[in-house]
């Protein structure tokens, strides 16, 4: 089966600053693919390139087996939906109107939606649990509710790939779990590919089928969470002290920040207390 996204030697330069350097990876279909990395590592640029809103300087990008430049704006929008970090709220749209705009690439020349489109929007709102907000103004919603509306709009677009740019940033704990559960459920029920940029490594570890760790526009490591989230990879990418052990919930790794005041403590720890990922090798370099 063709992969959902296939990037080969992607390069992107913002003015003279290289943002992506020879990035190659493939995202299988129905995968929960999470891109992590420090600020300025090129995560958002990468997601914009996949969304087709930024053009890579060189390299090939295939979407669902076809080169991205072979898609028109409209056709691409039928296959890929983007959930941006935020939306402007100067204009008083209602939630239902906003969700319905996800139908845009499927509508006729005058952009008038039919009963079928309204039904799809209603289902998207039911799926994300925001039916009760339908008549509300967008600017009256809380951050968490707004995120669910953005996701409902993306679902309403009926894409095969959904791109999300840090959907859980600035959300409270309950909404973080809600958003991640929603995307996982959507993936499982509809077979959609989820590609997400996240700052939250622990959420990425729990939900991600595959993780892509970027640093300065280059791939540090690509693979399953337990392959990528090694202590060496993370310290190399983020440049700070971390502790990696197993999540009490199961097999996924758990990453804990180590503030300065605990550094001495770690050095003095009994060997048996140090998690395996720390014990194996000293932090010398990246684990490729």
């Amino acid at each position: 089966m063709k992969s959902a996204v296939n990037a080969n030697q992607l390069n992107f330069t913002y003015e003279t600053e290289p943002v992506l350097r020879d990035v190659s990876f493939a995202v299988p279909r129905s995968n929960f693919f999470i891109i992590i990395g420090p600020n300025g590592s090129g995560k958002t640029t990468l997601i914009k390139a996949i969304a087709g809103t930024l053009k890579a300087r060189s390299g090939q990008l295939h979407i669902l087996g076809k080169p991205i430049q072979n898609f028109s704006h409209r056709t691409l929008a039928k296959h890929i939906a983007l959930v941006p970090q935020m939306v402007p709220l100067e204009f008083p749209f209602r939630v239902s109107e906003f969700v319905l705009m996800g139908r845009a690439p499927h509508l006729g020349i005058l952009g008038l939606e039919q009963a079928g489109d309204i039904e799809i929007a209603r289902q998207a709102m039911t799926f994300t649990g925001i039916e009760h907000l339908a008549g509300r103004q967008m600017y009256r919603l809380s951050g968490g509710e707004r995120q669910c509306v953005l996701i409902a709009r993306a679902i309403c677009q009926e894409p095969q790939i959904i791109l999300l740019d840090e959907p859980t940033a600035s959300l409270d704990l309950a909404h973080q779990v809600q958003v991640m559960d929603l995307m996982e459920k959507f993936k499982e029920e509809k077979g959609v590919t989820i590609i997400m940029v996240s700052h939250d490594i622990n959420l990425a570890a729990i939900y991600g089928d595959q993780l892509l760790l970027l640093k300065e526009g280059q791939i540090v490591k690509l693979g399953r969470p337990d392959e990528v989230l090694s202590f060496q990879n993370l310290e190399h990418a983020y440049g700070c002290k971390l502790l990696v052990d197993k999540s009490p919930l199961g097999e996924s790794p758990r990453v804990t920040l180590v503030p300065r005041k605990f550094l001495k403590l770690r050095a003095n720890m009994e060997p048996s207390m140090i998690p395996t990922s720390v014990k194996k090798k000293p932090p010398t370099g990246p684990d490729h």
Binding site: K48, A51, G52, T53, S72, H73, R74, T75, L76, A77, K78, I80, A81, L82, P84, V87, P88, E90, F91, P92, F93, R94, S96, E97, V99, L100, M101, G102, A104, P105, L107, I109, L110, G111, L112, E113, Q114, A115, I118, A121, R122, M125, E131, A134, G135, Q157, L163
Partner: protein
């Protein structure tokens, strides 16, 4: 709930018919009122082909008032839909061709055309269009990049472009020696009194196709309000749409400016009022603004004709007296 049973098409039709009635009412008012008298009854009789006692009054109604009312409706429609387009494209509820200096640029072009001695059509219309495109380019250049999304920087650029345009206009006027000065100044302040059938037809030939283009792109304008990234991800070809919308609007605005001078704030007042009434969906808002803007301009012109004891004042004075305070109010509200 989303189950507003009315479909979008029904909503467009209902609101358009409502606004059409408002426009017709304004037009009847515009035709009935004037220094030669008349009144509703005569007008209604005349419209329905009944004989009217006073044939000179009938002449006035059909030859003088009628073209003027139609001209006002076209101008109002062009300016308010133009305002709507700028607000959507720049994602700024305070954008408007006059406030941004686009109208001023068209005026420079038109005055230069008049002074060089070009014919009214196509000469002055073309020079006016060139003027508006040049100020538009200047404006986009000043406020380009990230800053364009910031309300204040865009408006500030507009103020500066406007100040520059005024200076150039004053310069051009001060260089003029002959009797054309009075005409230019009166025209500059927004004047519909020169309406003739030829003028009306020329303007209609530009404004009506322009409105059709804007209506065609009205659903895209909704998506533009979600930001460039999101609009693109929803399948909008941003470059093409921007060029079409800016070109169409500039053409419409410069055509009205070259015919009727500067009528400010129409593109601010009407879209705001109607957005408040019918909501922000452009598929409804575009036809509503076209019809409502026409009605508004007719009423402003009636006021300009009837308020002074003798003669009349430029309609631009009325639109500015109504529009400027509203602008200040909206600015204050948005800053808060």
């Amino acid at each position: 709930m989303i189950a507003e049973k009315t479909t979008i098409l029904k909503r467009i039709l209902t609101i358009s018919i409502g606004m059409l009635l408002v426009l017709i009412a304004a037009a009847v008012l515009g035709i009935s009122v004037g220094s030669a008298g008349g009144g509703f009854e005569t007008v209604i009789r005349s419209i329905f082909g009944k004989t009217v006692v006073d044939s000179s009054l009938e002449d006035i109604i059909w030859r003088i008032r009628m073209p003027r009312v139609v001209l006002a409706a076209l101008v109002g429609a062009a300016l308010s839909s133009g305002g709507l387009v700028f607000q959507a494209l720049l994602r700024n509820p305070l954008a408007e061709p006059y406030i941004l200096g686009i109208s001023g640029g068209a005026a420079i072009g038109a005055i230069s055309g008049i002074l060089i001695g070009l014919s009214q059509f196509p000469g002055v219309s073309v020079s006016s269009f060139i003027g508006s495109m040049m100020t538009l380019a200047l404006l986009l250049m000043i406020s380009s990049g990230r800053t364009i999304l910031r309300k204040e920087s865009l408006l500030l650029s507009g103020v500066m472009v406007n100040a520059f345009c005024s200076a150039v206009i004053m310069f051009l006027i001060s260089m003029t020696q002959d009797a054309r000065i009075h005409n230019i100044i009166f025209w500059l302040m927004g004047d519909l009194s020169l309406a003739g059938f030829k003028q009306v037809i020329l303007l209609a030939a530009i404004v009506i196709p322009g409105i059709a283009v804007i209506f065609w792109l009205s659903h895209v304008m909704n998506l533009l309000l979600l930001g460039q990234e999101t609009a693109k991800s929803l399948g909008v070809n941003l470059k093409v749409v921007t060029v079409i919308l800016l070109g169409t609007t500039s053409l419409m605005v410069s055509a009205t400016v070259s015919q009727c001078g500067l009528l400010g704030f129409v593109g601010l007042v009407i879209p705001h009022l109607l957005r408040f009434v019918v909501g922000p969906d452009h598929r409804v808002l575009v036809p509503a603004c076209v019809l409502g803007g026409g009605a508004y301009m007719i009423v402003c012109d009636v006021l300009a004709r009837t308020l002074p004891r003798q003669g009349e004042m430029p309609a631009g004075v009325i639109t500015a007296i109504i529009g400027a305070p509203l602008f200040i109010f909206l600015l204050k509200k948005s800053v808060r």
